[in-house]
């Protein structure tokens, strides 16, 4: 699957980036193509491109706070979670996603 997403935590200096790493690493192990944009206190980094969003099958938003630019994902399938799930249980998260998606097919 092509997956794009956003991560953002409260302090915006640590969990944001750990969540991003976890989502990408675990996703790659499971054979997904994952791109995550971070919205830390420094601002938006690794901004998702229009093409990437268009090509994506799923959007993961791992955030404890309000994220900006959600309107870009209109019409996409979106899953929203707090960062701690991405950090502590990325494998379970992907399993859950696969189950949900195959159930809705």
């Amino acid at each position: 699957m092509n997956i794009v997403g956003i991560s953002a935590c409260t302090a915006g200096i640590a969990h944001t980036y750990i969540a991003k790493e976890k989502l990408i690493k675990t996703g790659q192990e499971l054979g997904h193509n994952v791109r995550i944009e971070t919205q830390g206190t420094i601002g938006i980094e690794n901004e998702l491109t229009k093409q990437e969003i268009e090509a994506a099958d799923l959007v993961i938003i791992a955030a404890d706070i309000k994220v900006s630019g959600k309107e870009r994902f209109k019409g996409k399938r979106i899953i929203e979670i707090p960062t701690h799930i991405a950090i502590k249980a990325p494998k379970q998260l992907y399993k859950k996603i696969e189950m949900e998606l195959s159930a809705s097919k």
Partner: protein, 362 residues
């Protein structure tokens, strides 16, 4: 219902916008105070650079309630929430309702703006006026008057009550309070529980109560220092407690801890959650209790060891920090099991069971 309102997310959004402002303002005040500055009373007379710094910091602190309120309203209602949110925060400042008032005002005005956005129907020609005039005006009038005449008083009472409760606390009571605050602040290494304790301490700072802020700073440093102490103990006594990889993590976590960044401990905690979290929480609780009991106060909300000189009792703070960290360190050393070196302790191998049933793909 409550879950749908996402109260926590809005509050956390506000904290994330507020943090850089508090840190900058607090440090300005501390640097200014240390160099002999005072708040400028009259700008028409000449003043010194330190006084300019202190004054800027105090001005910045005054922005806190408006920023909290605006950020909450923005999180709830998007852009139209910002202007009325700022106004509600100013009301909170003016009537002495402080950050509690700012939070409440932000929530009420945010939900009110959201309601107007979704339910107020205007003729086509007036649609352009909605975001520019109608929403800001109606929400400011309605919630503003509500704040001035109805909600303001109880919040002022609550703020005053809390302030006098904290200033009148004695001995053991102070220790208990400091211990709870410290334990909370260390519990999840900079996560949401820590942020709740943080917000509480930052809010009290605005009311001129400095002690909880010192507890917060202490509790952020106990986990990295405590883990480091347990590692040194293990080295000194030739016992193995950490894998090579964990040792490398500790070497990174310690300097981060000096700067008051607790997050360096996360990789070490993640592989041994129960032991590390329990030891860190207990150590921070002991240190926090002592710091509170010894009346250590910090006018600066962040900055780690670098701002210790700006505290009211730098030596007592260091002592409390040391005792707390030692509690964590000794506990970890005694409790932790000998690790198996060849095993890959990368985080992905062990996952906590999580309840993901509430999560839906939309």
């Amino acid at each position: 219902m409550l879950k749908k309102l996402q109260i926590k997310k809005h509050a956390l959004t506000a904290i994330s916008y507020m943090l850089p402002l508090v840190v900058a303002s607090g440090l300005l005040i501390a640097i200014g105070n240390l160099t002999g500055g005072t708040v400028i009373e009259n700008y028409k007379e000449s003043f010194s650079i330190p006084s300019a710094l202190v004054s800027l910091g105090v001005l910045g602190m005054g922005l806190l309630a408006p920023v909290i309120s605006a950020a909450i309203a923005y999180s709830i209602a998007d852009r139209p929430g910002i202007a009325p949110g700022l106004l509600m925060g100013l009301i909170a400042n003016a009537i002495g309702a402080g950050f509690l008032g700012g939070m409440l005002g932000g929530f009420i005005v945010g939900f009110f703006v959201l309601f107007l956005k979704n339910h107020l129907k205007v003729p086509k020609w007036a649609e352009g006026l909605m975001p520019m005039m109608i929403i800001p005006l109606i929400s400011s009038v309605v919630v503003g008057l509500l704040m001035f005449f109805v909600l303001g008083l109880p919040i002022v009472w609550a703020t005053d009550g809390l302030t006098s409760f904290l200033t009148n606390m004695q001995g053991s009571m102070k220790f208990v309070f400091g211990a709870i605050l410290g334990g909370m602040a260390a519990f999840d290494f900079g996560g949401p529980v820590n942020k709740v304790a943080s917000l509480f301490a930052d809010g009290l700072l605005l009311e001129g109560i400095y002690e909880p802020e010192a507890v917060k700073i202490l509790a952020s440093m106990v986990p990295p220092f405590g883990v480091t102490i347990s590692w040194i103990l293990a080295k000194a006594l030739r016992k193995k407690r950490y894998t090579k990889k964990e040792e490398d993590n500790i070497k990174i976590a310690f300097p981060m801890g000096v700067c008051m960044i607790t997050e360096g401990v996360i990789p070490i905690a993640a592989v041994d959650l129960l032991r590390v979290v329990t030891s860190c929480t207990l150590g921070a609780a002991v240190g926090g209790g002592l710091s509170m009991m010894w009346n250590v106060g910090s006018p600066v909300p962040s900055g780690g060891m670098f701002i210790v000189p700006a505290m009211t009792h730098p030596l007592l703070f260091t002592l409390a920090l040391l005792i707390g960290s030692t509690v964590t360190g000794v506990m970890l050393f005694l409790w932790k099991k000998e690790p198996v070196e060849n095993q890959d302790f990368s985080l992905d191998e062990e996952e906590e069971e999580m309840d993901l049933s509430g999560i839906k793909i939309s």
